[in-house]
């Protein structure tokens, strides 16, 4: 057959084959991110968080009044159940000491975020170290490593056994009552969760072929852990961190309810505000509702995003 026909039939074939999509091997993360963008949960969650963070950052500069100033204290009579609800100058009304609720909510957002983030960081870092250590030991430490690992895990189990509140109380008992105490207490509670998680996924990764390959190639163990196992084990930890932010905020509220919260009640923090407002629930329910709703929505935001991330990263939950 002629050369011409030959070439143009290859030509023709080429374009026909070209039309069908070739499966691109996108990385786990890009994949996950793509899925995230398409998930309603993720979007709602992200929006909530964004709003919350913005408020937390700029809020304090937008407060119409000083959140601690008892400007209208003459107008509120807790002893007669007389409170001041929303009105022109005070959009959310006044609290039981004649302070502007709206301003307090704004500033409270920052405090709440602070507690949430710091305590989660504490839990994350500590948990990361412990979990990483025993994970590394278990995967590459041989027999001795396994023993080390099991000891650490016993310890972690032990921590899991303790109700979070009691941990908090114990910390408070030793360190005295303060915002730091609250953060540490709430953080400590998260430690075992992170530790177990990281270790778990490290063990999973440790068995993976590429690690065995690396080992057989004689890559140094430390390098394997740092450059391969840990990076690949991170995703669940990150998810958990997001979820923990929610729990941290709620735990902090619970501590305030038990009177272990921030010792200076003048500084507005949603948990403390909620705990204080309980007493006036009959006369001024809104005083409790504002911070409660604040806490719930914020926690929800983090939970939504976290769950969405989890689904995105875990094929099983998807489909």
């Amino acid at each position: 057959m002629s050369v011409a026909t030959k070439t143009d039939k290859i030509q023709r074939l080429a374009e026909l084959t070209a039309t069908k999509e070739t499966s691109t091997g996108a990385s786990l993360w890009r994949e996950a991110f793509r899925r995230l963008k398409s998930s309603k949960m993720a979007i709602i969650g992200a929006v909530i968080i964004a709003v919350f963070v913005v408020i937390a950052i700029v809020g304090p500069y937008l407060t119409p009044y000083a959140p601690t100033a008892q400007t209208w204290r003459g107008e509120v009579f807790p002893n007669q159940g007389k409170f001041v609800g929303p009105r022109g100058e005070n959009w959310f009304g006044l609290d039981h000491l004649g302070r502007d609720m709206f301003s307090r909510m704004l500033v409270g957002a920052r405090q709440t975020l602070l507690v949430g983030v710091v305590s989660t960081l504490i839990g994350l870092v500590a948990g990361f170290l412990i979990g990483g250590l025993s994970g590394a030991a278990a995967t590459l430490g041989g027999e001795a490593g396994k023993r080390v690992d099991s000891v650490i895990m016993r310890f972690i189990d032990m921590m899991l056994a303790l109700p979070s509140l009691l941990l908090a109380v114990s910390v408070a008992a030793v360190m005295g009552q303060s915002l730091t105490t609250v953060m540490i207490a709430v953080g400590v509670v998260q430690v075992p969760v992170f530790a177990r998680l990281l270790r778990g996924s490290m063990l999973a990764q440790g068995g993976a072929d590429y690690v065995l390959a690396a080992q057989s190639l004689g890559v140094r163990k430390r390098r394997i852990v740092t450059s391969q196992i840990i990076p690949n084990s991170l995703s669940p930890v990150i998810v958990q961190a997001t979820l923990s932010l929610a729990t941290a905020i709620i735990e902090a509220a619970a501590l305030s309810y038990l009177g272990l919260g921030n010792p200076d009640p003048a500084i507005p923090e949603w948990g403390v505000m909620l705990a204080q407002a309980q007493r006036f629930f009959d006369n001024a329910p809104m005083m409790a509702v504002y911070p409660a709703v604040g806490i719930i929505i914020t926690a929800l935001g983090f939970t939504l995003l976290g769950e969405a991330m989890r689904e995105a990263l875990d094929p099983k939950l998807r489909g």
């Binding site: 057959m1 026909t5 039939k9 023709r12 074939l13 026909l16 084959t17 039309t19 069908k20 070739t22 499966s23």
Partner: protein, 333 residues
């Protein structure tokens, strides 16, 4: 008239969001009483989907089935779901590829066998257990009464497959569909299982639809063979005829790619180029064209039709079929 008549069966997945993909594209074939029919092709050619479609086991979401499939004169696809349930397991049964994952890990074998007896043969308690034991015994599982109490993970791979078969034949179905029943097993076991299937078919006169990519299995078992490529039957013929004269370049290639003892030493194998992924849409021409050595311009002018270029009853879907067997050997590598 034949037991199962599949006519222009098409199966399309997707829909919501993702672009629809057609897994089976107008497949037609027949299965007669006691006949063993093979569906052959590489993985992804649509053979398993066909079988699941016939059994009605495809996930309903985003699924569209076209064409007809008559079982004993009644159309399976227009049948009521409950009627279909009654049919399944009693009239038509299926054997799956991976015996371990196909057995419920937390339920004893015994229960998994008796439950079908209870469902279709109304057997209860002791009677059912006896029958179950008998069935296991029949498919060659030693010491069946003990096995009844055991769980899948306690059985060997072969045993599991036998158990699955026992469940399939529990109600003496008229049609048995076997989807790659031997791929998960090692060779010695494979033979035994095939042997078992064969004798079941012979004894019961059960019709068997054999889904496989393994031409050896086909050669050993099937009366009639349908070769699938990219969702279409590309060649259909009797076993002997097909092995003697593979006419579609694909079938030809498949046979050619099997190592042969009788071939002179040092002669290279001649595998088919590329994978099932590089193909073109049937609408544009022959999907096999990109991998085909005999491909020419004509292959790209619309879907090639089934014809009988070589012999009556030997259908081939090709513009440029392999007609002279001599050529079959010296395909340029």
């Amino acid at each position: 008239m034949s037991l199962l008549t599949v006519d222009e069966l098409t199966v399309t997945f997707g829909g919501r969001g993702r672009k629809a993909s057609r897994a089976v594209d107008g497949v037609s074939f027949e299965v007669d009483q006691g006949q063993v029919v093979g569906l052959v092709g590489e993985s992804g050619c649509g053979k398993s989907v066909t079988s699941l479609a016939l059994m009605g086991l495809l996930p309903a979401k985003g699924l569209t089935i076209g064409g007809r499939a008559e079982f004993d004169g009644t159309d399976l696809f227009t049948m009521s779901p409950s009627a279909r349930r009654d049919l399944r397991g009693s009239e038509m049964a299926m054997i799956f590829q991976d015996p371990l994952s196909s057995l419920n890990p937390v339920v004893p074998i015994g229960v998994q066998v008796t439950e079908i007896l209870e469902r279709h043969r109304g057997m209860k308690g002791e009677a059912a257990r006896k029958e179950a034991a008998h069935l296991l015994d029949r498919v060659g599982i030693p010491d069946p009464t003990r096995r009844l109490k055991e769980y899948p993970h306690q059985l060997s791979g072969g045993m599991r497959q036998r158990a699955l078969i026992a469940m399939a034949v529990a109600c003496a179905p008229r049609l048995l569909i076997a989807d790659e029943p031997t791929t998960a097993l090692d060779v010695t076991i494979q033979a035994q299982i095939l042997e078992l299937l064969k004798e079941l078919v012979d004894q019961e006169g059960t019709a068997l639809l054999m889904i496989t990519h393994d031409l050896g299995v086909v050669a050993g078992l099937c009366d009639q063979v349908n070769v699938l490529y990219a969702g279409k039957v590309v060649e259909s013929a009797g076993r002997r005829e097909l092995f003697a004269h593979p006419t579609h370049p694909y079938a030809h290639g498949l046979l050619g790619s099997i190592p042969r003892l009788d071939a002179p030493r040092g002669e290279p194998l001649n595998p088919i180029r590329g994978s099932i992924n590089d193909r073109i849409a049937w609408a544009d021409g022959c999907a096999f064209a990109p991998r085909c050595d005999r491909y020419e311009m004509g292959c790209l002018s619309g879907t090639p039709q089934l014809g009988e270029p070589r012999a009556a009853g030997h259908q081939v879907r090709c513009v440029n079929p392999v007609l002279d067997d001599a050529k079959a050997e010296e395909v340029p590598a």
